[in-house]
Structures are given as C-alpha cells and as structure tokens.
C-alpha cells in the first residue's frame, strides 16, 4: 500500500495545474477575501482569523474533491482491475485513495495558515496553531470519502463536473465563503446539516475556547460513515461487474 500511495503522490506532484489550482488557490482566496470583509468581527473572532479558518477549511475540501474523482479515470483506464489481480485487498484500495487525499489536504491547509501568520500577522499561541491545523485536517476526512464516492459512482467524464457541483454549493452553504450569520435564516439552519459548516466551525471553536460541539462531530461522522458505506458498496458492485 505504501508504494501505491507514494506513486500516486509522485504522479500528482508532476501536475503543475493540480499543485497550483488545488493546493495554492485557497491561500490566494484567503488573501483576497480577508481584504473584502475588512475589519469586522464574526463568530467571536476578528475577520482575518475567521476567514483564515474558512479558507483553510475550503482548501482541505478542494483537495479532497480534486483527488477523489480521479478514481473515475483509473476505472476508465482499467487500473483498478489490474490491481484487483494483485494481493491488494479491496479495503486497501479504498484506504490508499483516502490516505492520498488526506496527505495532500495538509499542505493546502498549512499554506493558508502560513499566509495568515506571515502576511496578515495573525498572532496565536503555538498550541492554538497546532489545534487548528489538526482540527481542520482531521475534519476533512468526510470529504476525502465523498470525493472518492463521486469518482466511483458516476462515469469518468462526469466525475469532475459532479465534484464541482457538489463542492461549490457545499462550500457556499456551509458558510466558507461568507459568515453564516449573514446568510438568510433557513440557509443558516441548512448549514448545520453540512460537514463543510462544521469543518470550519469546530476549528474556529478551538480559538474561542468553546467545547467540542457534539452535534458537529455527529454530523461529520454521519457523512463519513454514509459515504464510506456507499463507497464499499460501489467497490463491490465494480468487483462483480461483468
């Protein structure tokens, strides 16, 4: 499994588009958006810090939704069929995909935080930095599985567009682009059912000293488990395919 993960990372790192568009864009967005919203406060944080966490969350999500749908290409090429002839078990294949998405989510998150620290001069304690990095990174797990689900569920050529169609509304309604407080009431309630909302919210709570929101953890765990169950089901369907 290690060799497969390493090879996938190597192949992806050769793609400049992937590195720039997926991993670096959230940082650029952060630098622009934090100017747009100025110096208001939101959610008990100053706007720079608030947007930094939103954009880090957005970055973690973007990577997951860029990596997962690539599975569509692999299915088209017959690569997964070739791997099925090896001792690699089905769960191993799924685990490799999720691991790759998780590994690549980390630099996207770190870049945004680095820009916050170096460009925006956001001051947090080392413990706080560590807490938000870990929170943001671990919370991106449901998205890694969701991206994979899209790659396995639809035809290869539909995977990337469908990925966008899921992840942009999810980012928007989850309040990653603008604070949920300024969304209309019904949208704000809808946000609480989305993992994207909780990804940012739980991470922000690390800075305001709020206790871990169990509703949020539950919502994310539910998305994770449902997506994983579907992924396993689809893998089995693929395995029994004619």
């Amino acid at each position: 499994m290690g060799a497969l993960i390493w090879t996938e990372l190597k192949v992806l790192s050769r793609s400049v588009e992937f590195l720039v568009v997926t991993i670096a864009f959230p940082m650029v967005f952060f630098l622009v958006m934090s100017e747009v919203f100025g110096s208001d406060r939101a959610g008990g944080l100053d706007m720079n810090t608030y947007m930094m966490i939103s954009m880090a969350a957005f970055g973690a999500m973007s990577v997951a939704f860029a990596v997962g749908p690539r599975v569509g290409l692999e299915r088209q090429a017959g690569w997964n069929r070739q791997l099925r002839l090896t001792p690699l078990p089905g769960w191993g294949y799924v685990a490799v995909k999720i691991t790759v998405a998780m590994i690549l989510a980390l630099p996207a998150v770190l870049l945004v935080f680095l820009a916050g620290l170096l460009v925006k001069g956001i001051e947090l304690t080392a413990g706080q930095w560590l807490a938000i990095v870990l929170s943001c990174w671990i919370s991106s797990l449901p998205f890694a599985v969701l991206g994979l689900l899209i790659g396995m569920a639809v035809k290869p050529e539909s995977a990337q567009p469908l990925g966008l169609a899921v992840y942009l509304p999810m980012a928007m309604l989850g309040g990653l682009w603008m604070p949920v407080d300024i969304l209309p009431g019904f949208m704000a309630s809808l946000a609480k059912a989305l993992p994207s909302y909780w990804l940012a919210e739980i991470t922000r709570d690390r800075l305001t000293g709020t206790a871990l929101d169990l509703l949020g953890v539950g919502v994310m765990a539910a998305w994770f488990l449902v997506a994983l169950t579907l992924v396993i089901g689809l893998y089995r369907r693929d395995a029994a395919r004619v």
Binding site: G2, A3, L4, T7, K10, V11, R14, S15, L73, E74, A77, G78, W79, R81, Q82, L83, R84, L85, T86, P87, L88, P89, A240, R241, V242
Partner: protein, 306 residues
C-alpha cells in the same frame, strides 16, 4: 504445510456458465490444465475467450460452475501471488512511467522478481523511464507483460498479448515467453493468430459460442477435421462430376485448376486418375490449422461481440 500437497491441476474449470442478457457467452465449459502446460485459447470473436479468462481470474463472477487455480479459489490464488495476467480490460495510468508501473505492481507481492529483471525480460529497458501514455501500442503491451511477469507467477494468463505488436516485437515477445516457460510454468493465452498457437502452444483449445469444440495438440485438432486437399490441373473436367468422385467432399474448379476437399484422399486420387489420366501438377496436402479452424468454427452465424 499446505504447499506440500500434490496439486494436480493448475487450472480447473467445471460447468462454467455466464450469460450477458440474451447472449450465452460461456456455456457449460469444462477445462483442466496441468501445471507446465502452455495452452492457446483460440476462437472467433465472441467465442467466449475473454469471458472465460476473466472468470478464471476472478474478475467476472460466473452464473454457475466452479473455478480453481492450483486447488484454491481464483481470488485466493491471486492473493497468494500465483497468477500474473495481461488483460484487454486492464490498463495503466498514462502519467506513470513503465518502470513506476512495474514497481507498483511488484510492491503488492511479498515475493516479487526484481523490477529491473522483469523489465529486462519483457524488453522494456530502453523506454522504462517514459510515460506510459507516450508509448506505442507494442511498447504498451510489453510494459503490461513486464507488469504481469514481475510477481513471478506460476500461471500466466494473457489475453491477445501480441495484438498491437509488429512482427519483430512479436518474435521477441514469444522468445521471452519461451524463456520464461522453460521453468515449468503454466501459460494460458488467447490469440487470433493461428501461427502463434501453432508455434507456441502445447495444446490448443478451440472455442465457439462459449463451448469448447476441439481440444488437443495442433496435430490432433487438424486430424479431428479429418481430411486432405487434392490440387491438380485437369483438362475438360466438370465440377459436378469431380464432386461425385468417391472420397470427395466438395470440389472447386477454376479454369483447369481443381481443388478437392476429401474425406478419403487415397480413394479420391485413384478415382481422379482413372477418369483423368492426364491430370498433372498433383499435390495432396493435409489440412492446416487454419483450415481446421475455419471448418470447426465457421459453420454457424457469428454472435455479437460481448
């Protein structure tokens, strides 16, 4: 140890059936292949060769029937690293180099060959560092061969391995294969090229409409069709009269050139010479594998490709 148990079949397929919609792709197929045999699966398109291979590898689930490789289920045999395969439906990612592909495959097995050895055996060394997407059809096939070989399998399953290769690559490919099978390994390959079956296989399994129609050495298959062809130049012969000669099945006449397909060529030749003492340029030839192939597989309408 389980390994010390005598395993008498490398491949054992019993009562295998697979239907796609209305089409019976494989219909009650029974096949036993002993360790060390090199078997060619031969047949027209849609004869069920690919489906048989995919079921044998555990990639397609049969509707009914039993599959065992070295006395264990297909998936188990694959997990034990006993099986290497080149599939038509299997493929690699274009962004990876040939070497990376072979490396990744090797890493999946506890006891793989050295990556460079597999690459050298398959003749991939020269372009091992190029991206797969930029390779020619023949180079891609050889990369796939290296990837199938690297687990050092006891059974190699090859679905039309030389399909995109030019003549020279094809020769090199089979030379590499011969080299590999001298160690007593089992090979099953599907091909459209009769010459490959003739030159390389110990045993030919001829399939049509999902069934085995002939199974044996090339000589045995040719003998099964049982017949020879008499060619001669004969003046003033009529095609009906020729066809009516004893021992003749069908007759063809082009100008003065006579071609008689015979069930008993000795009787036919005597009768021909009795009626036409001036017949000349006479030759009697045994059926080629190609004649046998046509005779055994082409008498019914072809099915759709599945």
């Amino acid at each position: 140890m389980a390994e010390t148990v005598t395993i008498d079949a490398a491949v054992s397929l019993r009562g295998l059936r697979k239907t796609f919609g209305e089409v019976r792709a494989v219909d009650d197929l029974n096949l036993r292949i002993a360790p060390g045999e090199v078997v060619a699966l031969l047949g027209p398109n849609a004869a069920g060769k690919t489906t048989t291979m995919e079921m044998l590898l555990g990639l397609t689930t049969p509707d009914s029937g039993e599959i065992e490789l070295f006395g264990r289920p297909a998936r188990r045999a694959a997990a034990d690293g006993l099986v290497g395969a080149m599939l038509q439906s299997g493929g690699f990612l274009g962004e990876m180099t040939s070497r990376e592909i072979v490396q990744v495959m090797a890493a999946q097995y506890p006891k793989a060959m050295k990556v460079d050895d597999a690459i050298a055996r398959a003749g991939v060394t020269k372009y091992a560092r190029l991206k797969y997407s930029g390779l020619s059809g023949g180079q891609k096939q050889r990369t796939r061969f290296a990837a199938a070989l690297v687990c050092d399998p006891d059974l190699l399953v090859l679905d039309e391995p030389t399909v995109a290769m030019d003549v020279q690559s094809r020769q090199e490919f089979w030379a590499a294969m011969r080299d590999y099978t001298t160690g007593g390994r089992t090979v099953v390959f599907a091909t459209h090229y009769l010459a490959e079956a003739q030159d390389f296989a110990d045993r030919v399994v001829l399939m049509r409409h999902g069934k085995i129609v002939a199974d044996g050495s090339v000589d045995a298959i040719v003998a099964k069709v049982d017949g020879r062809t008499i060619r001669a130049t004969v003046e003033g012969a009529g095609v009906e009269a020729l066809a009516a000669l004893p021992g003749v099945g069908t007759a063809q006449l082009r100008g003065e050139h006579v071609e008689l397909h015979c069930s008993d060529s000795d009787a036919a030749l005597r009768a021909l010479l009795a009626e036409h003492p001036h017949a000349r340029d006479i030759s009697v030839t045994a059926m080629s594998l190609e004649d046998a192939f046509v005779a055994l597989t082409a008498d019914e309408p072809a099915m759709e490709e599945v």
